[in-house]
């Protein structure tokens, strides 16, 4: 989801840890080392990586292209090939028939069937282009927070994994407990009280 959309969803994170100096080069290297790789002419059915916010289909992290004011702005791109099951079934049936005619048999073993199915999926994966999904990110490194413009569970999980792998920093998702613990400036005794909380019954 683009941060320029008329309506957006935001999942908030706390970034734990510090980037090594020189910061801009470290961030650019981390983005470049984990940039999205095109899979349109390959048999892979899925790829995940960073891309540019301004040009998500021509990633480029040179210079300060990912710096907007005091923020780092870039995107997570997840490309996936969606092969309709009915297309797989059609190609599989045709290929299975061909093999049986060629061998003069009217049956195929379990391993032959699996081999044909894998072959069909492999061939189709080479022909079908991947569908890209782009999710924007605003990262305020100084303040230690990051906004991810999606609430989708899988997209958030991919972000957390790739971010940690790329920057060697951990992302802590903000939800009621972490918001209270990390953002509300509680004293030690207030933190103890937080940990002891149990649900309120407004109505007996």
């Amino acid at each position: 989801m683009s941060l320029l959309s008329s309506s957006v969803s935001i999942t908030r994170y706390r970034v734990h840890g510090r980037i090594d100096s020189p910061v801009m080069e470290t961030v650019a290297d981390a983005l470049n080392n984990n940039v999205i790789k095109e899979i349109d002419d390959q048999s892979s059915d899925r790829t995940i990586g960073w891309t540019s916010f301004a040009k998500p289909f021509q990633p480029n992290f040179s210079g300060s292209s990912f710096v907007y004011g005091s923020f780092f702005v870039f995107s997570l791109r997840i490309d996936k090939k969606n092969i309709p099951p009915k297309v797989v079934q059609k190609q599989y049936t045709m290929e299975a028939d061909r093999r049986m005619i060629k061998s003069g048999r009217n049956f195929l073993s379990k391993s032959e069937k699996k081999q044909i199915k894998d072959h069909v999926i492999n061939v189709l994966s080479l022909r079908i282009p991947a569908t890209p999904n782009v999710y924007d990110i605003i990262w305020n490194m100084e303040a230690g927070w990051l906004w991810f413009f999606s609430n989708l569970k899988t997209a958030n999980e991919e972000l957390e994994t790739l971010f940690t792998q790329s920057f060697k920093l951990s992302l802590i998702r903000i939800f009621p407990y972490t918001e209270a613990d990390l953002f509300c400036e509680l004293s030690d005794s207030q933190r103890d009280a937080l940990r002891q909380l149990t649900p309120t019954r407004f109505i007996e």
Binding site: Y68, G69, I138, P176, L194, T200, F202, I203
Partner: protein, 174 residues
């Protein structure tokens, strides 16, 4: 800090109590938010509210949708022990208006629309538009964080048990 997955599940109720308290504040003390925005004009319940009653064996869920929908059904659900699990809010500050939904268990923000901000007409415009939008998103988030911070300090204080809980109970039963 406690394990994140454990903390998420164990303290889900805090977010639902927060949204229930927020509805109570909107109804009884709407100017509380001035503390977190000097230009604050109003905070209102928007076009969606979800309530869940997990005290029953099979969790009951009530969804109220639509602009200007009656909240009576929501109040009836509170009277049966439900809490607000999702709330759409309309926030006005100076001449500007934001609208967004907050989910109790995650505090995730969805359907966030901000005051009109232009789209970039050229690559040179992009920086300015991104920074303007980031500022507008941050204002809604700051309000939410301010109100949550206010709630959590109240929630862990003795005032919650001695005063706020009974005030909310009276409001629910009134």
């Amino acid at each position: 800090m406690m394990d994140v997955a454990v903390a998420y599940n164990r303290f889900k109720f805090i977010g639902e109590e927060f949204l229930t308290w927020l509805w109570f504040v909107i109804a009884t003390d709407p100017k509380l938010a001035v503390k977190y925005d000097p230009d604050f004009v109003a905070l209102e319940v928007g076009n969606r509210m979800v309530l869940e009653n997990t005290r029953k064996e099979s969790a009951e869920r009530v969804t109220i949708k639509g602009d200007g929908a009656s909240l009576e059904e929501g109040m009836m659900a509170l009277q049966k022990g439900a809490l607000v699990s999702e709330l759409n809010l309309v926030y006005r500050s100076a001449e500007l208006k934001w609208q967004f939904s907050v989910k109790g268990e995650s505090l995730n923000i969805s359907a966030l629309s901000i005051p009109h901000s232009g789209l970039p007409e050229s690559d040179e415009d992009l920086d300015g538009v991104v920074l303007e939008r980031a500022d507008l998103y941050e204002r809604a988030i700051k309000l939410l964080e301010g109100l949550f911070g206010h709630f959590i300090k109240l929630r862990i204080s003795s005032t919650w048990q001695n005063k706020t809980r009974s005030a909310i109970r009276n409001w629910i039963q009134s």
